[in-house]
């Protein structure tokens, strides 16, 4: 359902240096996939995830969701995609501190007043084990709990795709495990999951591992391709991904 074809994105630093954060990236993700985006820090994982989630626009290339061409959409249509199709989970949670947990979960509904969510904010909070925290403020919660609130918020709009950027990067191992289990369960129930991680062990839990380096995809376990010379280490990761698949 997601087709990226030769996507490029260059960032310019304040010193006018250019960084190719995505270079000729082509990637197809099918409905129900669990894709792990891995690679070293600065390799372009977040850039790619943001491009997929329409938080950013590519400089060139094609991007289709279903049959719709994303690169020619206006702000209204892109916002609608973010509201309906994608649910975001970020490393630093990104909750609004002034709103209660329940209000945070319901925030997306502010921008879709005509939308009737299949499950209420409280129901979703219940499904992530936070039913008695609805009227708390985010800063009264632990990191793992905050991330569960963020997941609940991502789910209220009933999105097809969950995009998670290092969702456990700020969590201890116990919370990491909880969050991963929740995400895996979501994937099992049919949602597409794209998760950025630089942890190979976590990547190994995905059905498909896409590895990046310097803005390029150097390996995709679905294609079992190794595009770069520094093959050893990469082939290792690829093999792992394949085993799991």
């Amino acid at each position: 359902m997601i087709h990226l074809n030769k996507i490029n994105k260059t960032y310019y630093t304040k010193l006018q240096e250019s960084v190719k954060a995505a270079e000729d990236v082509s990637l197809t993700i099918e409905e129900g996939d669990f894709v792990a985006l891995t690679g070293a820090s600065g390799s372009g994982k977040s850039t790619l995830l943001n491009l997929i989630g329409c938080l950013d626009m590519p400089d060139s290339g094609e991007y289709r969701i279903g049959d719709a061409e994303v690169t020619s959409m206006d702000d209204e249509a892109l916002s609608l995609l973010r509201a309906e199709t994608f649910g975001f989970v970020f490393q630093s949670f990104h909750l609004l501190e002034g709103l209660s947990v329940e209000e945070n979960v319901a925030l997306p509904l502010v921008y879709r007043p005509e939308f009737r969510p299949p499950r209420s904010a409280m129901d979703i909070l219940k499904s992530v084990g936070l039913q008695d925290r609805g009227d708390h403020l985010p800063n009264e919660l632990s990191g793992g709990q905050k991330q569960r609130v963020a997941i609940a918020r991502a789910l209220i709009g009933d999105p097809k795709v969950i995009l998670a950027d290092e969702p456990t990067g700020n969590l201890d191992s116990k919370a990491t495990d909880e969050i991963l289990q929740i995400l895996e369960k979501l994937n099992k129930s049919g949602r597409t999951l794209v998760m950025v991680t630089h942890d190979d062990e976590m990547a190994a839990r995905a059905g498909r591992v896409v590895r990046m380096e310097d803005g390029r995809i150097i390996q995709d376990s679905a294609k079992n391709t190794v595009e770069k010379k520094e093959g050893d280490e990469v082939a290792d990761g690829g093999a792992k991904g394949k085993e799991d698949a």
Binding site: L55, D56, S79, A83, H94, V110, Y111, E114, G157
Partner: protein, 401 residues
């Protein structure tokens, strides 16, 4: 529906940033208060002027000893009963010229009750000239003047204060050292347009006033009533020449009297209020614009502090327009709230003015509308740039830590 939800969001975030919200309300509040005040004062003074002119009469003059600013300057002794006579005979359009002598704060006593009142020495023409009615007893008559009788007419307030429920007619009050017999009661007249109590007065024969009370040869004012309002300016000019001649005033000497026409009265009230008007308008404009700049500064600060929030909202589906509307409504809601607070302040200040000063601001619905609408516009005007900045952010840039 969506708009309503977003304005609700604006309220929520204004609630979490109370300090800033109050700062944003401040300028528009003071500005709106000043604006509401200026409009009410202007309205009040124009109504006051109308009623002053009306009660002055449109076909009348007042000639005052001194520079013409009431009250008459009592140290000027040149205005006389003969002047009044000469004026009356000078022009066929003049119905009557009634001389009078006024003294303030004279103590009146009846059986141990005292009060201080202005006392007016008058001639019988005083009654038609000033439109006074005598409700009980009789008026001042020519006989009273020729015989310099110690008789008086009593105002309703004076009656209440020193007689209470007693019938004053025929009783003797003590005025200074001598006793005066009350021969009549003045009909109640209420307060004058400038706020004075018209019923707090005693009226006695002019000759008695001049010889027995004040011991002077002059009068303090002459009331001139015309048969019709036309030719008013010409007649005023003729009277001025006449009086200058009679008082032996040569140019470049100034007049030792002043002629007050209905026109002077309206000019006077307008001049008083226009100074205040300018002051208040300047205050209003400065506060509203200053408040606007404050709103813009705070909103710009808000936008950069809340970049992350903007990113989050964009990520969950807010369009640029949604963000614009949210920040704009934050600005508009706080300035409008400021305007409403300003309305309350303005009403309070109006109440204080009514109590403490001679100004009579009149509450006008238009003034509120202006005050509140202007503060609202200030919110729109100065909130637009910050809101636009917020809306222009790319979601990914707004979300960067």
């Amino acid at each position: 529906m969506k708009l309503f939800k977003m304005i609700n969001q604006a309220f929520l975030s204004l609630g979490t940033h109370k300090g800033k919200t109050i700062l944003m309300m401040l300028g528009p509040a003071i500005g709106a208060a000043a604006l509401i005040l200026v409009l009410s004062v202007v309205e009040g003074s124009s109504r006051g002027m109308q009623s002053r002119v009306k009660s002055f009469g449109h076909a009348n003059f007042m000639i005052l000893a001194g520079d013409g600013m009431p009250p008459a300057d009592l140290s000027i002794t040149t205005l006389t009963v003969e002047d009044a006579k000469a004026i009356e005979e000078s022009h066929p359009h003049i119905k009557v010229a009634s001389p009078g002598l006024q003294r303030r704060g004279i103590s009146v006593e009846f059986e141990g009750s005292y009060t201080n009142v202005p006392v007016f020495g008058v001639t019988p023409t005083w009654q038609p000239a000033w439109n006074w009615k005598v409700s009980r007893g009789r008026s001042i008559e020519q006989e009273d003047l020729t015989q310099m009788r110690r008789v008086c007419l009593i105002g309703q307030t004076v009656k209440e204060e020193i007689f209470g429920d007693e019938d004053p007619l025929g009783k003797t009050v003590r005025l200074g050292k001598s006793g005066f017999t009350v021969v009549g009661e003045l009909a109640r007249r209420g307060s004058s347009p400038s706020g004075g109590n018209m019923d707090n007065r005693l009226v006695i024969p002019l000759t008695t006033m001049m010889r027995r009370v004040a011991n002077v040869q002059h009068v303090s004012h002459i009331r001139v009533v015309l048969k019709e309002a036309s030719k008013m300016q010409e007649i005023a000019e003729d009277l001025r020449k006449l009086l200058r001649r009679r008082h032996n005033i040569q140019p470049p000497q100034e007049d030792d009297f002043g002629i007050i026409t209905p026109k002077t009265i309206s000019k006077m009230t307008v001049e008083i209020s226009s100074t205040l008007k300018t002051l208040l308008i300047v205050t209003a404009v400065v506060c509203l614009l200053g408040g606007g700049v404050v709103v813009m500064a705070i909103m710009l600060m808000s936008v950069s502090e809340r970049t992350n929030e903007i990113g989050i909202r964009r990520a969950v589906g807010a369009t640029r327009r949604d963000i614009l509307i949210q920040f704009l409504s934050e600005a508009v809601v706080s300035t409008t709230a400021g305007g409403v607070v300003g309305f309350a302040i303005g009403m309070g200040a109006m109440g204080a003015m009514l109590k403490l000063s001679k100004m009579q601001p009149v509450f006008t619905p238009w003034a509120i509308l202006w005050g509140v609408v202007t503060s609202m516009l200030i919110g729109v005007l100065f909130g637009l740039l910050p809101a636009y900045r917020a809306a222009r952010l790319q979601p990914v840039d707004a979300l960067r830590d």
